[in-house]
């Protein structure tokens, strides 16, 4: 559509000129509809009534990262709301195609940075399905325990930011107090507070350190006490209920037609949880129940996630009891690098070590789609392999990317302040939206 310009001036143009969609749209009012590749305007046939188009933009205290909402306001009433994403696009799927299967976890774990274990797990499960490799039971139980602990820390992050967005600023400090305990536990087990790269293809990176049972149980008790405190602080609070009950209501049909999964879907009364319906880890040996509520508003999503924290704590306690012994990684020489000490002793281990870390293990040609239940919904990994050490295609179906489509169903005809509460109740993580 635009004429060809020399790259230097074009580079200058991109950095200097603004890349917001709405503004370009307003400068060219007579935009015809039949142009197939429409400049992404607010809405193609937009003309200026006396309403105001504002940006709740990328740099905003309450948009959970760099989400931008273009809103058409009539006074304080939101007439139309449109999320604009892409401000954190990191080209992870292109990088994923350039990394070998061994390195892939480090790239994927930075997508949903509030729940890194879920990303690593879905990536590892996809590669293991392509390899048809059987993960030993202890590794599966460690993975399950860590994913549930991660669900707790992610929902604690939600409670903190949701409270602050709606006005209970002290919730930020309380939420982070419990989350800090979880992060310290992750550092104890995996060595890193975030972006752990601990769940790898074939099992987990290292066995659980000694004395892990007591520390895990302590964290569960601290978090359970914290959750009781939040419940007491907020659930009966009239101001809180005034701001959240009946705000951002969505029905099950609207959710299903927008491919929305996770807490938002369950808050509308449709109890769908992949851990129960399509268990991908030994969830069937654990008794826990799927939390769901009825009327699908901001208050229900808050209550649902609060209850999910206690459910996850219940699961983690059962994992601590039933943790099987055994090796923590598949013993197949071709997939698991040998332990460091073995390399000095045997030449074969050295060769395996060298092969695995230079070109990675080869995966037979094939394609698969694996989906698990992350704290935000169904996170899926579509993987296509062509027999080399690198995937042809590594696509992550981010739940927040689809959950953001609920904004126009919830946000239309609401107040601007409610729009903040609605975005916070969707709990999008921009890392997995933009990938």
């Amino acid at each position: 559509m635009s004429d060809v310009r020399d790259p230097k001036e074009e580079e200058e143009l991109r950095l200097e000129r603004q890349t917001d969609e709405g503004a370009q749209e307003l400068r060219r009012p007579t935009r015809t509809r039949e142009v197939v590749i429409a400049g992404g305007g607010m809405w193609p046939e937009d003309e200026l009534g006396d309403t105001m188009i504002i940006n709740m933009g990328p740099q905003h205290p309450s948009t959970h990262g760099v989400l931008r909402l273009m809103m058409e306001l009539d006074g304080e009433d939101v007439l139309r709301i449109k999320p604009v994403v892409g401000y954190l696009h990191t080209g992870m799927e292109k990088t994923g195609e350039e990394l070998t299967y061994v390195q892939g976890c480090t790239n994927v774990t930075r997508m949903d940075y509030a729940a890194p274990f879920s990303n690593e797990l879905v990536y590892s499960l996809a590669v293991e399905k392509l390899l048809d490799v059987e993960v030993p039971p202890r590794a599966q139980w460690i993975r399950m325990m860590l994913c549930e602990l991660n669900r707790m820390s992610s929902h604690l992050l939600f409670q903190a930011t949701n409270g602050m967005d709606i006005g209970a600023v002290s919730m930020m400090l309380y939420g982070w107090r419990e989350r800090e305990e979880c992060l310290r536990l992750f550092e104890f087990i995996t060595g890193l507070r975030m972006n752990h790269n601990y769940i790898r293809v074939g099992g987990v990176a290292a066995d659980l350190p000694d004395g892990w049972e007591q520390r895990v149980l302590d964290v569960c008790d601290v978090v359970a006490a914290g959750v009781a405190e939040y419940d007491e602080l907020l659930t009966q609070n009239p101001i809180w209920r005034e701001r959240t009950v009946g705000v951002g209501v969505i029905t099950t049909e609207e959710c299903l037609e927008r491919s929305i999964t996770g807490p938002i879907l369950r808050s509308t009364g449709f109890a769908w949880d992949l851990r129960k319906s399509q268990p991908y880890l030994p969830y069937d040996e654990i008794d826990f129940d799927v939390v769901y509520t009825e009327n699908g508003d901001v208050f229900d999503r808050y209550r649902l996630r609060l209850q999910e924290i206690t459910e996850s704590a219940k699961i983690v306690r059962q994992c601590v009891e039933k943790m099987p012994a055994g090796d923590f990684r598949v013993q197949d020489k071709k997939v698991t690098p040998p332990p460091r000490a073995r390399i000095d002793e045997s030449m074969e281990a050295l060769i395996h070590h060298f092969k695995l870390f230079t070109e990675g293990f080869r995966v037979a040609p094939g394609e698969t789609y694996v989906a698990i239940e992350s704290p935000r919904g169904e996170i899926g990994c579509y993987m296509v392999s062509d027999g080399s050490g690198k995937p042809v295609r590594m696509h992550i179906r981010g739940p927040s990317f689809y959950n953001l489509q609920a904004i126009d169903a919830m946000g239309t005809d609401s107040l601007v302040a409610d729009a903040v509460a609605i975005v916070s109740s969707i709990d999008p993580i921009m890392g997995e939206v933009d990938r």
Binding site: G39, G86, T95, L256, E257, S259, E367, R393, F401, Q405
Partner: protein, 168 residues
């Protein structure tokens, strides 16, 4: 061993071929019939949710899985469907030739296809006919080219390790 949903789709749409990939039901359908297959799945087969729409670029493939009856093209559009009632998944794949990368849009059947189709258009350049607002979603609006194509350079910056006085 093919899945009964796959067989139902195959006999309903003659041009399609059922396949099995690691225990998951996959149906290769003709490119033009994608929207009709989706409508059939939603209305008759109770597939209540469209999980994902994405694309694959097979330009630089080492070796590719051979399905008899499917003419391998450069691009593939992959749509995953999920049925809550029947607790099963199916994957519909259609080959998209390089010279004419257009596919009927699924937004008519599932509203949830709006964002992923915009992303697939943005990163692969495959246009979806009938999409209400097909525009770039992830890349800046004035970005040239479609980054996830295999022939699109990944623009890796040569990292210089020599003692570089200037900051970059």
């Amino acid at each position: 061993m093919t899945d009964e949903v796959a067989t139902a789709v195959v006999e309903r749409f003659p041009g399609s071929i059922a396949a099995d990939s690691h225990g998951q039901a996959v149906v290769y359908v003709d490119r033009a019939a994608l929207a009709d297959v989706a409508r059939y799945l939603r209305d008759e087969e109770q597939f209540t949710m469209l999980a994902d729409v994405t694309a694959v670029d097979h330009l630089l493939d080492g070796s590719r899985i051979e399905i008899d009856g499917v003419t391998p093209e450069r691009f593939e559009i992959v749509a995953n469907f999920l049925s809550h009632a029947r607790n099963r998944r199916v994957r519909i794949i259609c080959e998209v030739p390089e010279h004419e990368p257009t596919v009927p849009s699924l937004t008519g059947v599932y509203r949830g296809a709006n964002f992923p189709e915009r992303e697939t258009f943005d990163l692969y350049g495959i246009t979806f006919d009938g999409h209400p607002d097909l525009a770039r979603i992830l890349m800046p609006d004035d970005w040239k080219g479609h980054p996830l194509r295999k022939d699109d350079p990944s623009a890796r910056v040569p990292v210089t390790f020599k003692g570089d006085p200037s900051p970059r």
